[in-house]
Structure formats: structure tokens, C-alpha cells
């Protein structure tokens, strides 16, 4: 059976209109990982039992994260006859009664429930619009446009909200080159960290010979402090699938693989579900939507390894081997997965494609600043009043993010440090608040925006302690293939640990720089090349913290006096001996 898109769309729109105009209330429960950690599953069960014991006939969907994670578990209700949703925050089993009373009577019991506001055209008496919340109004949701609004497990809701339109139109037009052209014009740059222009990357693949070519969607997302890839898969997996299909059609590829770390059940289950729905709706497989285009997508799971997110290590992992980077060349577009031409993109990058193609040239590139076009999804967490997931246009300042969106630092404390771009990124001081969100400006300052994680630390945190954790992470995750990274990270960690214990030796700072320089020059992949970044940027912005440990034998905040537990076994070197203090450190320069 070849499905016809207009038929699919009519059915989906009917279904949607029945849902929103139904005589039953529609309850949406935020059930992403942030919601789960706040107890969303318990809330969900309690809502089901209480609605059935009150004989309340309702539609319930578990949806993705609307971004205001500090208010999870979040539940929202669309009452029959109303066109606006009312959002309730921090929902506990005690507040469910208040929500159900709202459904039954339309009355809002403000002392029983925490009401965030309403969202929609129709004003609701005594409530403010979510759009007036400072965390909301600076946002521009493109890749996240459906997340939190539709049920991720329902392809019809995606289609009714404009989904798969870009794919259908592109297939109808029949000019794959046109997609590459629009992507190039859009100025979209990879959101996986390196910021490589996406249209250009796709154009490399066009020339590679088929018939088997791969598009890989990278959702390894090992960066601590980042959860936006998982956020997309949990909230709107079809957006990613459509992006992969567009990339596939544009580059003449035949297969797609979504690469996810095992154990993240939400994203994995949602994606599996979406893939099987796409097959049964004729959006994957042979003759997609009746056109001459065949494409298959499968999921590949990886074990725990950070370096598996590096594009060549990722291919090794899909092939079932140890996730160690390959030498380049050959470049993936020539010989990648199973030695076939391959394009690797981050999940966010691919999720932008459907909207960019739908709007055509000139739209996406009009958002943003300089060479940083469009929007970026920020994962804000740490010592901040409103941790969450916010999609904002490039060009805001870091101050806007921290103070307007994030609501500032809790307990009246002041900002000390921002850690951006994952462990290989860097740290910034409070003078960086004037900095614009711009890929170039941030990397010039020694930090990268990377995958969009921003970890905030207040004045009571120590920069040396933070550096220790970042370096410990990089050491723990070194894959062990090349020695500058394998040995260099161990050296760096030992020195940083020594400084935290106020047992630094003379010349330790210079020694670290020396090791770092060698790692940068000699490592095979960006893990080793950037492994010194956290230390370099911490010394740049927080030299007094280091000096205080080294010269005055004192941690200015006392953080470093606490015992810290780190894994002892690491894949690169086996067990680290943290007690052995008398080793002689020879600068690597003198060995080679």
C-alpha cells in the first residue's frame, strides 16, 4: 500500500481537531527524564487512578519537556470549550485534587495548586500567559516547537502540526540539490560541538557513489550538563526522523542510523515507536509516500563511553567494536560506516532541517548574529533559580540567559563561574555576562558553546575543585588509543589533584601547560586535543584560586577539603594509584 500524503494529512487533522474540540479534557503530563527525576511517573499513575475513581472521562498523554524543568512535574489541562491550556507546576499527589476540580468545575483553587499560567489565544481570568514569563518570552522554539505540546508516540499529532510536509514537498519537487542549497543558505552549523556548516557537509556526500550510503544521527550525548538531544527524542522523535529523511534524500543516501547510549529508556523507546509508526504510514521503507525514494532507519545502542560520540569512534561502535577514533583520511563522506559513504550529524542539527526546508531560503539565516545563524538550545543547570531547556536565538547575551531566563543565582549569592560546552569546553568568569551567544565570540574567550550545556556555579564554589571534576571526567573517558591523551590526562589529573590537596610542587602550572600543549599537538581526536581546555580556561579566569592553593596552601571556599569519590578503574590505564606521591614527572617533551 502506498500512502498518499494528503490523505494522511486529512486524517491526522481530523484526529487532532477531534482531540482539541473534544468534550473530554486533555491532560498532558511532562514525562521526560527531568520530569521522571521529579516524580512524573508517580504523578501519572495518581492522575489515572483518581480520574477513574471520580469517573472523569479524560484524554491523557505523556509529553516531552516544555523547558521549565524547575517546575517539574508539570501537568497541563485543556478543558472542553477552552482554547487555552492551564499549566500546573510541582504537581504532587496532594495537588491532583485541585487539578481535577478545575476540569470538573472550571474553578482554579490557587491555594491548592501551583499555577504557572496559561498558553493559548483565550485569556484566562486571573492568570498570566506563559509568554509573559521571562524564561519563556526570550525563547524562539524551532527544533523544540512541538516538544511538550504533542504526544511523542503519536505520528498523527506530528503530521497535524505540519510534520512531514517538508519531506513530501521535497519529494514532489524532485530536486535533492535544492535541499542542499537551502541548507547551505540557511547558515545552519552543526550543533554537536564543532560547528561545521551542515549544508556544506551534506554537499560532500552528494558526489560519493552509492547505492548504500549512511546518515547517522548522533545522540550519544555524553556531555554532563546537556540533555537537549535526549529532550528532542523524548518529546518529538518524528522531527528527527524527518530530518534524517531529508538529509538522506538530499545526499542520495539509503540508510539512517540513530545512535543512542543504552539505558536512556525514554529516548530509546520513543524513537523505536516513531520508527515503526513511520514504516506503517509509508514514510520509511520502499517508495516513500509513493515517490521513487527508498530509505530505512534503525537504532544502534552503545555502551558507556564518551568518546563513542566522536564521529569516527561512533562508526566503530555501530560496527560493534571498541569506540576508538579512526585515522582520517579517509573521511566519512568517502568511506565511513561499513566502509560506505557516511554523513554524521548531531540530533539537533538534523531536527532543524524540516523547519528550514519548510520555510525556504532567507528565513533561518535572518535569525541570529554574525556567522552564528538561527537558534540554539541551551541546557541551563547548576546554581541557578530556573534550570531548564531553553531554545533562544543567537545574539542574546550570557547575562540574558543567566538573569532573565535563569532567574539569577539562588539564595542571594552571586555568580562565580560558567562552565560551557561540556567537559572539553571551558569555564568563564562573571565578566563574561556581557558576552553574546555567538560561536566565534565564545571560542575566542576560551570556552565553546558546544552542545549548549551551561553549568552555573555560585561564589561559594572553587574553580580548582571544578577543574578537578572536569579533568577527572576527561581522564576517565579517554579511550586509550593514542598515548598523548592516555598518559597526558593521567598526568594532568594527578597534578590537579595535588593542587586541590594544597600539595602542589614548584612549576606545576608550567608542567600542566607543557603536557597540555603536547596533548593538543599529538592526540588523534578532539578529546585529547581539547583535554587541556578546562585547565587553561580556569587558569585564565581564576588564577587567584590556583595561587591560593599553591602559595597559601588554602582553598578559598573550603570545597577542596571535602573527600571526592571518583571511579578508580579507567579504561585507559587500569587502576589509578592516587596515593603514590613520589613519582618523578618528566615533561613529555623530554621523552619524545
Amino acid at each position: 500500500m502506498t500512502a498518499n500524503f494528503s490523505q494522511l494529512k486529512i486524517e491526522a487533522e481530523q484526529e487532532w481537531s477531534q482531540l482539541v474540540n473534544s468534550s473530554k479534557a486533555w491532560i498532558r503530563i511532562g514525562s521526560s527524564m527531568c520530569g521522571q527525576a521529579a516524580g512524573a511517573f508517580g504523578t501519572s499513575v495518581a492522575i489515572s487512578t483518581q480520574t477513574s475513581s471520580r469517573k472523569l472521562d479524560v484524554n491523557i498523554d505523556q509529553v516531552g519537556c516544555i523547558g521549565l524543568c524547575y517546575l517539574e512535574p508539570i501537568v497541563d489541562v485543556l478543558r472542553p470549550g477552552s482554547s487555552s491550556r492551564v499549566f500546573f507546576g510541582n504537581v504532587s499527589s496532594e495537588s491532583i485534587d485541585g487539578i481535577l476540580q478545575y476540569i470538573e468545575t472550571g474553578k482554579l483553587l490557587k491555594d491548592q495548586v501551583n499555577i504557572i499560567g496559561y498558553l493559548g489565544e483565550q485569556e484566562i481570568d486571573g492568570l498570566s500567559s506563559l509568554r509573559d514569563l521571562s524564561g519563556f518570552n526570550l525563547q524562539q522554539r524551532v527544533a523544540l516547537k512541538n516538544v511538550g505540546n504533542i504526544a511523542p508516540g503519536n505520528i498523527q499529532q506530528y503530521i497535524a502540526n505540519g510534520g512531514y510536509q517538508a519531506l513530501n514537498d521535497s519529494l514532489e519537487l524532485g530536486k535533492p540539490d535544492e535541499i542542499v542549497k537551502v541548507m547551505q543558505e540557511s547558515g545552519l552549523r552543526g550543533r554537536g560541538g564543532a560547528g561545521f556548516p551542515t549544508g556544506l557537509k551534506w554537499s560532500f556526500m552528494v558526489r560519493s557513489p552509492g547505492p548504500v550510503k549512511y546518515i547517522l544521527a548522533n545522540c550519544e550525548e555524553g556531555d554532563p550538563g546537556a540533555y537537549n538531544d535526549k529532550g528532542i527524542l523524548e518529546g518529538d522523535p518524528h522531527m528527527l526522523l524527518e530530518g534524517v529523511l531529508l538529509a538522506g534524500y538530499a545526499t542520495g543516501a539509503s540508510n539512517g542510523v540513530v545512535f543512542i547510549r543504552h539505558g536512556h529508556d525514554g529516548p530509546i523507546d520513543r524513537t523505536k515507536e516513531a520508527i515503526s509508526q513511520a514504516y506503517s504510514s509509508g514514510l520509511l521503507g520502499k517508495n516513500i509516500l509513493g515517490f521513487d525514494f527508498n530509505f530505512d532507519i534503525e537504532i544502534s545502542l552503545t555502551g558507556d563511553s564518551y568518546v563513542a560520540g566522536e564521529e569516527t569512534a561512533l562508526m566503530e561502535s555501530i560496527e560493534g567494536k571498541r569506540a576508538m577514533p579512526r585515522f582520517k583520511p579517509p573521511f566519512p563522506a568517502v568511506s565511513g560506516l561499513w566502509e560506505k559513504p557516511t554523513t554524521i550529524n548531531n540530533v539537533k542539527t538534523l531536527a532543524y532541517a524540516p523547519e528550514i526546508i519548510k520555510h525556504g531560503e532567507g528565513w533561518y539565516s535572518s535569525i541570529g548574529v554574525n556567522r552564528s545563524k538561527g537558534t540554539v538550545i541551551i541546557c541551563l543547570n547548576g546554581d541557578i533559580n530556573k534550570p531548564g531547556m531553553y531554545e533562544v536565538p543567537f545574539g542574546l547575551t550570557l547575562g540574558d540567559i543567566i538573569h532573565e531566563i535563569g532567574g539569577g543565582i539562588p539564595n542571594g549569592k552571586s555568580l562565580k563561574m560558567l562552565q560551557t560546552g561540556g567537559p572539553l569546553g571551558g569555564v568563564l568568569g562573571k565578566e563574561s555576562l556581557d558576552m553574546t551567544l555567538d560561536l566565534e565570540e565564545m571560542s575566542q574567550a576560551g570556552a565553546i558553546l558546544g552542545s549548549g550545556g551551561i553549568i552555573v556555579a555560585d561564589e561559594e564554589k572553587c574553580a580548582v575543585d571544578m577543574t578537578r571534576i572536569l579533568v577527572a571526567f576527561c581522564q576517565f573517558e579517554s579511550c586509550g588509543k593514542c598515548f598523548p591523551c592516555r598518559l597526558g590526562m593521567v598526568n594532568l589529573l594527578e597534578i590537579v589533584e595535588r593542587i586541590t590537596r594544597c600539595e602542589a610542587r614548584e612549576g606545576d602550572l608550567d608542567l600542566m601547560k607543557d603536557v597540555g600543549q603536547n596533548m593538543q599537538m599529538g592526540s588523534l581526536c578532539a578529546h585529547g586535543q581539547l583535554g587541556f581546555n578546562p585547565i587553561r580556561s580556569a587558569i585564565t579566569y581564576f588564577e587567584p584560586d590556583f595561587i591560593s592553593h599553591i602559595k597559601d596552601s588554602k582553598c578559598p571556599t573550603g570545597s577542596c577539603e571535602k573527600l571526592v569519590y571518583l571511579p578508580k578503574n579507567t579504561r585507559a590505564l587500569g587502576e589509578i594509584n592516587r596515593e603514590n606521591q613520589d613519582k618523578q614527572y618528566i615533561p613529555i617533551n623530554n621523552i619524545i
Binding site: P224, G320, N381, M466
Partner: protein, 155 residues
């Protein structure tokens, strides 16, 4: 379980239908999902199932840090030590859990009730500090809750 029984069990797992590409890694993940660890027999069976060497399978199994080679305890507690959780008090949390379970570092409690594992990021940093108990996430964990959490799961 006898060696033969383990082998039979593993072969049953390996020959169950899957939709993705079958590789050394996918087989290892499948076995650990089903029985909680990678017994020596599994390494041998996977090698013969995929016509590769035992070395190859060992290499992969020891590379990814989620694999374990002894049966896990009844409950699995993962505590995050990632930077966000660290800032929000993970060190106190970890030492509290270790104390409560009489452990010095990550590992299995003596009564075999709880296996403790450190995790680099459980993916819910918004709710830091985060732990996961038998794969269900729990955020904003306070040191004062440690006793209750352990007593509850160990029950």
C-alpha cells in the same frame, strides 16, 4: 546454575529475534540486559555465535564501563558524580550512601542488597543531585533521605 545451563540460556537470548544489526556490542548489551552481567560463558558463546575471537569480545566488553562480570546485587544504585551534581552536593551524597552500605568505594554491599555504581551523568542535571535506583531516576536527593532510600530498597 551449571555451566551448560548458563550456555543454553545465553544461546536462547542470542537467538531471540532483533530488528537492528547484530554485532558483538549489541549481543553484550542484550545479555547484560537479560541477566544483569556478562558471565565468562557469554563471552565464549558470543564469540562462536558471531564467528569471532574470544579476545575480540573481551576487548569490547572491558572497554564499555557499563559491563560487569559478576552477578549484580538485588538492587542497582547509580549515583552521579558529573559536574552539575558535584556542585549540588554529590560528594556528600556519595559518602552518605557508601557509609550506610559499609562500602569504601563503588561496588557491591556485603549483604548483596545493593550494587553501587558511579555515573558520569544520568541526564537529568536540571534536578541535580541525581541518583537512579533500579533504572528509575530520582532528583534533588538530600543527604537526610539516604537512610530511607536504602531501607526502602533493601526491604
Amino acid at each position: 546454575m551449571s555451566e551448560q545451563k548458563i550456555k543454553d540460556e545465553i544461546n536462547k537470548i542470542l537467538s531471540s529475534p532483533t530488528d537492528g544489526t547484530v554485532t558483538v556490542l549489541s549481543c553484550l548489551l542484550l545479555v547484560q540486559d537479560e541477566i544483569g552481567y556478562i558471565p565468562d560463558e557469554a563471552v565464549e558463546e558470543i564469540a562462536s555465535f558471531l564467528k569471532t575471537s574470544i579476545n575480540e569480545v573481551w576487548g569490547v566488553a572491558t572497554f564499555y564501563t557499563n559491563f560487569r562480570f559478576t552477578p549484580p546485587c538485588k538492587n542497582i544504585l547509580e549515583v552521579c558524580w558529573g559536574p552539575t551534581c558535584h556542585l549540588k552536593g554529590a560528594p556528600d551524597l556519595i559518602s552518605g550512601f557508601l557509609d550506610k552500605l559499609n562500602l569504601e568505594e563503588e561496588g557491591d554491599s556485603k549483604d548483596k542488597d545493593v550494587s553501587v555504581r558511579y555515573n558520569t551523568c544520568l541526564g537529568a542535571c536540571q534536578q541535580a543531585p541525581v541518583i537512579s535506583i533500579n533504572h528509575s531516576l530520582r532528583g534533588n536527593v538530600k543527604v537526610s533521605e539516604i537512610s530511607n532510600i536504602i531501607d526502602f530498597v533493601a526491604d
